[in-house]
């Protein structure tokens, strides 16, 4: 099972002329300027078109109004009249990811491993570290794409031993998020289904999430690969890898590869 969707709000504030939040407006201006500059430098029909799109993005950022969002009934502006004080990602906002993997161990063993959140960076490639603060709270640090690191405190909000763990970010999180993991034993030695549901408010808003997807940072894919790594680690004690093995690439191509890694 896999899904990653961008949620649209149940209802929207039609009186407001602004439907783009501040972080996304800023992103819109930066990307728009870059696209416009690139388009103008091309001196072709395609270039002029690109410049026009860029200008549109700049205006979208400056005004805070997006006609496309309006047409689709989307908004990335939080609804101020909703009380969101005890919710990390308000209903209808952000990105939702759901992925499942089967692991050939009893639920107790997987639960115990997962419940110690300090184990998470061992198989979640975007997590740098998790520090357990007390029985409920922990501090998470991620390594995002292009150096966009983020950190937050999380608390466990729901827990049934060997069945589920639910958590959410608290206070001034850089990335508002909430998640849960569910363990269900299959009959006849077919292992345990481990399901992860994640919701988060991506930096750069809905547009940011779409852009990230275009450049291969698809959250559904990421969670799926992390769960695959968890399965490998728990079933075999290691995660399959070929990193650092030899190949016959010419020296120049190797340099290019290393350069790409540095840029990333």
């Amino acid at each position: 099972m896999q899904s990653a969707e961008i949620l649209s709000p149940e209802s929207q504030n039609s009186h407001s002329s602004q439907n783009v939040n501040s972080r996304e407006r800023w992103l819109s201006v930066v990307i728009g300027s870059a696209v416009a500059a690139y388009g103008l430098s091309r001196r072709s029909i395609a270039g002029i078109t690109a410049a026009g799109i860029g200008a549109g993005l700049v205006w979208r950022g400056a005004s805070g109004y997006c006609a496309v969002y309006d047409a689709l009934g989307l908004t990335s502006v939080p609804e101020s009249n909703h009380d969101t004080s005890n919710v990390s990602v308000p209903y209808g906002r952000g990105v939702r990811v759901e992925q499942t993997v089967t692991i050939g161990l009893p639920p107790e063993e997987i639960y115990t491993f997962f419940r110690n959140f300090e184990n998470l960076p061992r198989f979640m490639s975007h997590l740098q570290s998790v520090t357990v603060l007390d029985a409920k709270r922990s501090h998470w640090v991620t390594k995002g794409p292009a150096g966009s690191d983020a950190e937050w405190d999380a608390e466990i909000i729901n827990e049934i031993p060997n069945e589920l763990i639910g958590w959410r970010s608290i206070d001034d999180s850089q990335v508002d998020n909430a998640g849960s993991v569910h363990f269900k034993q299959n009959p006849a030695g077919r292992g345990t289904d481990v399901k992860v549901i994640l919701r988060y408010d991506p930096p750069g808003g809905v547009l940011g999430a779409m852009t990230a997807k275009l450049f291969g940072e698809d959250p559904a894919h990421q969670v799926k690969e992390d769960l695959r790594a968890l399965k490998m680690l728990l079933e075999t004690g290691e995660i399959a890898s070929t990193k650092g093995q030899p190949n016959g690439l010419p020296h120049r191509a190797k340099l290019r590869e290393r350069l790409a890694e540095v840029v990333r």
């Binding site: 089967t102 050939g104 077919r190 292992g191 894919h221 799926k224 690969e225 695959r228 399965k231 490998m232 079933e235 075999t236 004690g237 290691e238 995660i239 399959a240 890898s241 070929t242 990193k243 650092g244 093995q245 030899p246 190949n247 016959g248 690439l249 010419p250 191509a253």
Partner: protein
């Protein structure tokens, strides 16, 4: 170290590359003493397998001596002589535990690539494209072997390399193909392709109780081996009007009980469908030429089994599925579960029941690999099997 690297279609080179190192705790490093070019390597050579990258080290049939073991490898020590099965398996997942080794869940770091193409992915392979894991292969002086506590099989000192090397792939693959036929007393087994896998399938069919073995090919040297070394009745498909008519006549009008397609995606033929495949493959509309498979499906008797050890990679057209359905055929296929068979087959070699070295035609150095790929692909110089010493 020296290694045979892929640089593009029909472009393989011997390059100097860094030595492999231990990456994971269940790894070992093997110093290669003998390696071979497999028929399936020719699909890479001809550019039919996607996700190859320039510089990839080729080769999945190799054996040698353990020179280093990771922290978690307790059952092997430096100096042990081993053969290494071509599928890389963890030995711990549901598939490995159920003897479906080549479908292992846990060894392919690029499983998502195969999943995108096939829905689900199996074991990683040595030197066989990035969608199969991108592991450096064994046509080299040294190889990193993952899950060395599970995969390599120790070889007793008395047995020479040439007798045991083919336990890595083609002997178990041929045996797997014959076992998939579920051969019953009196069964006639027809094998398309007298290449190494086909020849081992014929030998295995006899071991498993076949009453007759029929081989279909066109290359004189290969047909000679099928006849003389594998005791098969041989049909030269270029000399007969219709293979179907001939097989039907040979089997009292019933058709062969078991049909084995040991040809795969680069079949040759002189009928309309073979030409159609050739054109589509050249135009990259179709990956695979499935002439042998179509013929096997058409010729097989009612209720018979078609076993497919030949490799297919993508989509194939004009498969007579109505024939398969109408005759209630059983289809069995896939990469061989080498680890399931390898010890029993080694015991047969030790008991002198079979000497797999009978099909070696070329013994060369690793440096000769580029020329030998061409010779093997073009079936020149009566080439059937190439072994290389680093």
């Amino acid at each position: 170290m020296k290694a045979v690297c892929w640089f593009g279609k029909t472009d393989v080179r011997v390059e100097n590359v860094p030595d492999p190192t231990i990456i994971n705790p269940h790894d070992a490093i093997v110093r290669v003493t003998l390696t071979a070019i497999c028929g399936s390597d020719l699909h890479l050579y001809d550019g039919y397998i996607p996700t190859m990258m320039k510089g990839d080290i080729l080769g999945h049939e190799f054996m040698g001596e353990i020179v280093e073991v990771g922290a978690e490898v307790k059952n092997l020590k430096v100096g042990d002589r081993v053969i290494v099965p071509f599928p890389i398996c963890c030995g711990r997942c549901w598939f490995c535990k159920n003897d479906q080794w080549s479908l292992c869940d846990n060894t392919n770091p690029n499983a998502w690539m195969v999943e995108a193409m096939y829905g689900f992915g199996g074991a990683a392979l040595y030197g066989y494209s990035h969608m199969y894991g991108g592991y450096a292969g064994g046509q080299a002086e040294y190889v990193r072997v993952p899950f060395a506590d599970i995969n390599p099989v120790k070889i007793p000192d008395g047995l020479p390399d040439e007798k045991v090397l083919f336990l890595t792939d083609i002997f178990p693959t041929g045996y797997f193909a014959a076992e998939n036929c579920d051969i019953k007393p009196g069964d006639v087994v027809a094998v398309w392709g007298c290449g190494p896998v086909g020849l081992f399938a014929m030998k295995s069919a006899w071991m498993l109780g076949a009453s007759r073995v029929i081989a279909i090919d066109r290359v004189p040297e290969r047909m000679r081996l099928a006849r003389e070394a594998c005791n098969a009745e041989v049909v030269d498909f270029e000399e007969v009007d219709d293979v179907y008519d001939v097989l039907k006549e040979m089997t009292g009008g019933r058709g062969p009980d078991c049909c084995i397609d040991a040809v795969g995606m680069e079949a040759h033929g002189h009928t309309a469908d073979a030409l159609y495949d050739r054109v589509k493959q050249v135009m990259r509309i179709e990956f695979d030429r499935a002439h042998a498979l179509r013929q096997a499906l058409h010729c097989c008797r009612k209720g018979g089994t078609v076993s497919i050890p030949g490799v297919y990679g993508g989509f194939i057209d004009k498969i007579p599925f109505g024939a398969a359905f109408g005759k209630g055929l059983t289809l069995k296929m896939g990469q061989a579960h080498v680890q399931k068979y390898v010890r029993a087959l080694l015991a047969r070699i030790e008991r002198d029941e079979i000497d797999p070295s009978f099909l070696i035609t070329h013994r060369v150095r690793l440096d000769d690999a580029p020329a030998m790929y061409r010779t093997f692909r073009d079936k020149e110089d009566d080439c059937i099997k190439v072994v290389m010493r680093p």
